[in-house]
C-alpha cells in the first residue's frame, strides 16, 4: 500500500491525542495541587504545599481517611472471600441453574450506582443499618465481589484440572487439597483481588454519599467540597488518594503478571 507509513503515523498521533484527553484532567489536578492561586488558572502561581497543609490540618479529612481505610480493608476482605468461593465453584462444578448463579454473582457492575445507592439507602434503613459503617462495608463488598471473582477465575483457568484429582488420588481430602494445592496456586490472584477491590472501595462515592450518614469516606468529603466553591483542596486530596490507589493497582498488577511459569 502506498500511503501505509503516513497513515500509521497519523493513527499514532491520533492515539496520542486520545491519551492526552484521558490524562489531561489527572495531570491538571496534580499540577494545581501545588499551585498557590485561589482559582486555578494560567499563568501558574508559585509552588506551594498550602493545600496539602490545609488538608493535613483538617480533622474532618483524617476522620474520613480513617473511615475509608476501615471500609476498604473490610470490604476488600469480604469481597475477595466471596469472589474466591464463586470463582472456585464456577471452575469446578457444573449444576442446574449455573447460568442464573453466575448472573447473580456478576450483575452488580451493570446497575448504575445511583440506583443501587437509593435501593441500599432504603433497604438499610428498613433493616436498621442505615448510617452505620456496616452499611458502607456491605455495599462496597457487593460492588467488589464480581471483580474479585473475575480475577481469581482467570488465574484458576491456568490451573491443570488434573492437579486437584492427582491430590485426591494421593489420599488428600478435598479440604486438604484446597489448602495445599488450590489456595497456594491462586494466591497471586487473591492478593491482586484484595488490592483492586480495596481501590474500588476507596474511590466509590455515590453509594457512600447516600448510606454513610455521619461516617463520611474520603470521596464523600470531596463531593461535599465540590458542592461548595472552587477549592484547590480537592486537588490535594485527589492527588493523595491517587497515590494510594495507584500503589494498590501497581501491586495488584505485579502479582497478576509475574508468577506465570510459562510465558503467556
Amino acid at each position: 500500500m502506498v500511503n501505509d507509513k503516513s497513515i500509521v503515523w497519523l493513527l499514532r498521533v491520533y492515539l496520542l491525542l486520545v491519551f492526552v484527553f484521558i490524562f489531561l484532567p489527572i495531570i491538571t489536578s496534580v499540577v494545581f495541587s501545588f499551585n498557590s492561586d485561589r482559582f486555578p488558572s494560567l499563568p501558574l502561581g508559585h509552588f506551594t504545599w498550602h493545600w496539602y497543609d490545609k488538608v493535613y490540618n483538617d480533622p474532618d479529612t483524617w476522620d474520613a481517611i480513617k473511615t475509608s481505610i476501615i471500609v476498604a480493608l473490610s470490604a476488600s476482605t469480604l469481597a475477595t472471600i466471596i469472589g474466591f468461593c464463586t470463582a472456585y465453584t464456577d471452575f469446578r462444578y457444573n449444576f442446574r441453574f449455573k447460568n442464573a448463579y453466575l448472573a447473580l454473582a456478576l450483575l452488580p457492575p451493570t446497575i448504575p450506582l445511583i440506583i443501587l445507592a437509593l435501593a441500599m439507602l432504603a433497604w438499610f434503613s428498613k433493616i436498621g443499618l442505615s448510617g452505620q459503617i456496616w452499611a458502607l462495608i456491605i455495599a462496597h463488598t457487593v460492588l467488589g465481589a464480581p471483580f474479585a471473582m473475575a480475577i481469581i477465575r482467570l488465574r484458576l483457568q491456568q490451573m491443570d484440572k488434573d492437579l486437584e484429582s492427582a491430590a485426591w488420588n494421593l489420599g488428600a481430602s478435598e479440604w486438604a487439597t484446597m489448602r495445599h494445592v488450590i489456595i497456594p496456586f491462586a494466591l497471586p490472584s487473591i492478593i491482586s483481588a484484595l488490592c483492586l477491590t480495596m481501590a474500588v472501595s476507596f474511590d466509590e462515592f455515590a453509594i457512600a454519599w447516600f448510606v454513610s450518614g455521619l461516617n463520611k469516606s474520603v470521596p464523600v468529603v470531596i463531593l461535599e467540597i465540590l458542592q461548595g466553591n472552587v477549592d484547590p483542596q480537592i486537588n490535594a486530596i485527589g492527588s493523595f488518594v491517587f497515590a494510594i490507589t495507584m500503589t494498590l493497582v501497581v501491586i495488584a498488577q505485579l502479582f497478576l503478571f509475574t508468577k506465570k511459569p510459562t510465558n503467556n
Partner: protein
C-alpha cells in the same frame, strides 16, 4: 428416613463454596432492588413512609412534564455519548490492536486502566477548572486573541465529562476484541484485493462486533446513570434522571417517587441491554 438420607447426600464441601455469594447477593443486592421497586408503591404521610400498595407515586411522576423532558434528555445524552465514544475510540483501538507492538499494547492498556482508579470527582473538578469562563483553556486561547468561549454549563461540557468516564473502558473492550481477530483473515481480504477501508468494514467490524457492542452498551449504562457530569459540568439545567433521583431523595423526603424514577431507569437499561446483546450475538 428420607430426611436423614437427604442430609447425608448434602455435599458440605461444595455448598461451602457455592452458598456465600448466593446468600450475600440475595440479602444485599437483590433484596434492596426488590424493596426499592416495592417502595415505589408506598405512601408518604406526615413526612413518614407508610407501607402500602398504591399507584399514587407512579401517577404523580408520570403526570409531571419535567419528568418526561428529563427522561428524553437523559436518553439523548447517553445515546450521543455512546456514538461519540464508539467513533472516537475506534481509530485509537484500531491503532492499538494492529499498528503497535505487543509490548506497546500492554503498556497502553495498563495506562488505560489507571483512570478507573483516579477519582472521577477529582477529574470532573479538573475539567471544571479547565473549561471555566476564566479557566485554563480560555486563558490559552486569549493569548492567540480569541474571545473566551462559554463551555461550562453546556451540553458540550456534559459530553466531555461522559467521555472522561467512558472512553478508557470503551477503548479497552474494542482493542481486546480487535486484537483477537485472526490476522490471516485480514491478510486474506487484502490478497483478494480489498483496500484498508474495505477490510475494516467487511472483516474487522463484523469480527469484532461483540466487543464493539458491549463497549457501546457499557458507555450507555455509565452515561445514563452518571449524575456528576450533568450536574457539575452541565449545570444541571435541565436535570437528568439521576439528578432528579438525588433531588427527590435528598431534599424532598420523597423516597417512593425517587424509587419510581429509579425503576423506570432500570427497566430502560434492561431493555437497552437485552436488545444490544441480541444484536451482538445474532447469527449472521
Amino acid at each position: 428416613m428420607i430426611f436423614s438420607n437427604w442430609v447425608k447426600n448434602i455435599d458440605v464441601y461444595a455448598l461451602t463454596w457455592r452458598l456465600p455469594v448466593i446468600v450475600w447477593q440475595v440479602l444485599f443486592f437483590l433484596a434492596p432492588l426488590v424493596f426499592m421497586i416495592a417502595m415505589s408503591f408506598f405512601l408518604v404521610k406526615n413526612y413518614r413512609m407508610v407501607e402500602a400498595f398504591e399507584f399514587v407515586n407512579w401517577i404523580k411522576v408520570f403526570s409531571k412534564g419535567y419528568f418526561w423532558s428529563s427522561y428524553g434528555l437523559s436518553l439523548g445524552l447517553a445515546a450521543l455519548a455512546t456514538i461519540f465514544a464508539t467513533c472516537i475510540a475506534f481509530p485509537a483501538s484500531y491503532c492499538l490492536a494492529f499498528k503497535l507492538s505487543e509490548t506497546a499494547r500492554r503498556w497502553a492498556i495498563f495506562f488505560l486502566i489507571i483512570p478507573f482508579f483516579t477519582s472521577y470527582l477529582v477529574r470532573t473538578f479538573s475539567w471544571y477548572v479547565l473549561l471555566a469562563e476564566s479557566g485554563v483553556i480560555n486563558n490559552i486561547i486569549s493569548y492567540v486573541g480569541i474571545e473566551p468561549i462559554k463551555m461550562l454549563n453546556t451540553m458540550f461540557a456534559t459530553m466531555i465529562g461522559y467521555l472522561t468516564l467512558t472512553l478508557p473502558l470503551v477503548i479497552i473492550l474494542q482493542t481486546l476484541s480487535m486484537a483477537s481477530i485472526d490476522k490471516n483473515l485480514i491478510e486474506a481480504s487484502h490478497n483478494l484485493g480489498a483496500g484498508r477501508f474495505r477490510a475494516i468494514f467487511s472483516v474487522i467490524i463484523p469480527s469484532a462486533r461483540i466487543g464493539l457492542i458491549i463497549g457501546a452498551l457499557f458507555c450507555f449504562i455509565l452515561s445514563f446513570g452518571d449524575f456528576v457530569s450533568p450536574y457539575y459540568l452541565g449545570g444541571s439545567n435541565p436535570p437528568t434522571l439521576p439528578i432528579l433521583i438525588i433531588d427527590t431523595t435528598k431534599s424532598g423526603q420523597q423516597w417512593p417517587r425517587a424509587a419510581v424514577i429509579a425503576t423506570v431507569m432500570m427497566v430502560t437499561l434492561m431493555l437497552v441491554a437485552l436488545s444490544a446483546i441480541k444484536i451482538a450475538y445474532k447469527k449472521r
